[in-house]
Amino acid sequence: MRRRLVTPEGVDLGLTLASMGTRASAFFLDLLMMLVLLILVTIAAVLLTRGAPESSKWVVQIIWLLGAFLIRNFYFIAMEMGPRAATFGKRMCGIRVVARSGARLTADAVIARNLMREIEFYLPLSFLAMAAGEGGADGAMVLFGLGWALLFLFFPFFNKDRLRIGDLLAGTWVINAPKRELGVDLLRPFDAAGFYSFTDEQLDAYGAYELQTLEKVLRESQIEAIATVSWTIRNKIGFGDVPDDYSFLSLYYQGVRARLERKLLFGKRRIDKHDR
């Protein structure tokens, strides 16, 4: 889903919101990471006091208590305050946190959005633990509590910006920021008109939307998709059989794009094939 963010220079950056699935997988990666960190802290604490006498075993407990507390509450905060504004899991999934206003992401916003995990994640979790531990008499009460707590957990499904409660209170949202490479331009600077030639009507069959869909198909170059698309296009524009679907599509793409871009220069943007 696209959201407007206009820079002070007056250009819309066209950000897209991260999907719930991506965010959930990032969160599970982070949970794993926290678990690994906790195990490391435990190992370090045990190693530190291995040779020490029995009376100083309390040091292990302190290290562990503090470590667990810091990891639980500050793992997300510390990582999101970094220059990439993303935790380990978010980086892996190619998403990041930004302020909804487009201003800079401040420390208080990061703290607010992550402290709210307490009721979004740990509260349902503790109700679950309670349900597992008790059962019987208090079962209904625990179920009620769980249902109430799940409301917070599933909050992002009930608003159009996919905001967690933490996002809502911090004025942030999570956007896609995957690493992108710039591929080559499919419009090659040689004249291929002699190979296949298309009439103006054939080139006018589609608009920009179809052109860019065709671009995606060509870039992914999956044989079945190419064959299907080629067959559909040839049917539509009344073109006979071709020996090689890919080169046909590639040349047709170049033809349509050259024509549409020329019109664009004259101020006529054709959004899709229905746009006459």
Binding site: N73, A112, R180, E215
Partner: protein, 327 residues
Amino acid sequence: MTGALSLRSEREEEWRRLERLLAICEKKSPRALDDEDLMALPILYRDALSSLSVARETSLDLELITYLEWLCARAYFFLYGVRTSAAGRIRQFVLRDWPAAVRALWRETIVAALLLIVGLVAGYWLVASDPAWYATFVPTELAAGRDFSASPATLRHTLYDSDSGSGLAMLATFLFTHNAQVAIFCFALGFAFGVPTILLLVYQGMMGGAMFALFASRGLGVPLGGWLLIHGTTELFAIVLAAAAGFRIGWSVVFPGRSSRLEAASHAGRTAATAMIGALVMLCVAGLLEGFGRQLITRDLLRYAIGAAVLVAWLLFYYAPRRPRLG
């Protein structure tokens, strides 16, 4: 040659350079760049933006447009996310943001403190009139033998006995992490319109009141005061602040006032979060006072004096008038 092709051939070198510089800045720090690169960064960013505008208007090359959108967004968030050094940020937090956030919550703080006092009085009154209430307010594991069946001597012992030295640090750590978790919970629950926070606050008060009633009935009221207040002034203040931060959130969600609900919520959330970090620092201090101070200092007067001095220090830190900042 058409638009996109010439745009690519003319500008691609610049985009690549911007990408490279951004990668260095994000992985290491802007200091890793030499002067020339540092000066070029904003110029390259504006070039990329203008390339994006041109590409959108003249080209239908989706690959090019998505790449430029990604590059510009990345550069935008880096360049406009002005950062100060960690030391500078901490300095600003302690000197300005933290007390300012606490001051901004003064109304909620008063309400929270009153609720705590109401709980305290109610707990005392109920237990004083009928000791059977005691078990309701103070869970047995927390009471640890401090109940109405205990002799005055045992009760006196719990107030003054000092653990062996090694246990103290452990106790301080445990108390800090436990209380901090409760405070964070109290804060987060504020979102549910503050109702759970009220309950938690009153309950905390009642527990204190019930204990007080028990000790007062054995003539140990004054020593218990010292035992609680040496760290209690800091700890209770921190819990009141955490609750106040929670109330601010709950209140702004229900009554957003003149701004939109979302805007009010995010404004309140950020102020409350700052105050909340302050409260956590206070709880850390309280844990140290409770773990070490209380066990090592066993004179009532000194306990009261420390408790009062710390409270005055906090009040001055938060509410003393400051010279207004210029500019």
